[in-house]
């Protein structure tokens, strides 16, 4: 039930912001400070989420095979590899490190 509540709230919230953008009169959100903040919010959220989903197990911090996978993703990103390869590298390296018995 809790999951459905979360889904319902997310559906309404995410649709509302999409629609709001199309309906609000132009200029309402065009202030530079608001635009800067809107551009930086995803940066903060994505960085925190990446770190947590790599190093967290419940509420404890751990260093396991996922860290190796993420490092592989970072290397492929620096080599300007396409998206497919980036995610693929993370998955394969994580599975490989686990198969060798670490993490």
């Amino acid at each position: 039930m809790n999951v459905w509540i979360a889904i319902g709230v997310t559906v309404l919230g995410c649709y509302a912001v999409k629609l709001a953008g199309l309906l609000v009169p132009a200029g309402a959100l065009e202030r530079p400070a608001v635009k800067r903040l809107a551009a930086l919010l995803p940066v903060a959220l994505l960085a925190a989420l990446t770190a947590q989903q790599t190093f967290a197990d419940g509420q404890t911090l751990v260093l396991d095979a996922r860290a190796a996978g993420l490092a592989a993703a970072a290397v492929t990103l620096m080599l300007r590899a396409p998206f497919l390869l980036v995610v693929g590298a993370a998955v394969v390296v994580t599975a490989g490190v686990r198969a060798m018995g670490a993490g």
């Binding site: 709230v9 809107a38 940066v43 959220l45 989903q53 993370a90």
Partner: protein
């Protein structure tokens, strides 16, 4: 055309990864598909299932997903001037206001081609995203232990791939660094889902510090 194909492949793969991740987080097939059909903005969906899997309350989990979705309002603002859609069409077009459709439409030279670009990209990605989500969720059930295949690394890799092109200047890097510190530092001491929301404060904090430094330089 090459770009469109590249976008399609990337979105298809993320859809698959989302289906797998969502099923691995304990959501049912119905719940997973409902998210892709009704939310249809990838980063928010990944954030929501990740927060739920970590034991976050439904409201903190939804709040994180919501804040990630706020950027779509700014795409909508720019698109509404460009596409000039009739008011009656806007509630239907709204669901397709996402990173990829905005990027394609804003790159078009005329209103006509922008409208075509928006609707073709929107329809294609909507079908592809939902189809691959379904396949991913079904695949995860068939695979069984998704962790053994390293599929729990797909979520963070998708986030990193979205984040990397945003880290253009020192400001973005400072925000990302501070957010990582807050997100990991607060994780052991606060309820699940809350640390991510507090990590979002890195954005206004760095902006404020930047503005202060700018003013000091101006005074000198």
């Amino acid at each position: 055309m090459r770009d469109a194909l590249g976008v399609g492949v990337a979105v298809g793969l993320s859809g698959f990864a989302f289906g797998v991740t969502s099923a691995g987080s304990g959501l049912t097939l119905m719940q997973t598909c409902a998210l892709s059909l009704l939310v249809f903005t990838g980063a928010s969906q990944f954030a929501l299932v990740g927060a739920l899997a970590a034991g976050g309350s439904p409201f903190t989990a939804a709040a994180g997903a919501f804040f990630l979705g706020v950027r779509n309002a700014f795409y909508g603002l720019r698109l509404s001037q460009l596409l000039a859609l009739p008011r009656a069409v806007r509630p239907f077009a709204a669901q397709w206001v996402i990173d990829e459709t905005a990027a394609v439409a804003l790159a078009q030279p005329t209103r006509r081609s922008a409208r075509i670009g928006f609707f073709v990209t929107g329809l294609t990605l909507y079908l592809l995203w939902n189809l691959t989500t379904l396949l991913g969720a079904l695949g995860a059930e068939a695979i069984g232990d998704t962790d053994a295949w390293g599929l729990d690394a797909a979520g963070p890799a998708v986030f990193l791939a979205l984040l990397a092109p945003m880290l253009r200047t020192g400001t973005e890097r400072a925000v990302a660094g501070l957010a990582v510190l807050l997100g990991l530092g607060l994780l052991p001491v606060l309820p699940a889902g809350v640390p991510v929301l507090l990590a979002a404060l890195a954005a206004p904090v760095v902006l404020w510090a930047d503005g202060r430094r700018g003013r000091e330089r101006a005074e000198r």
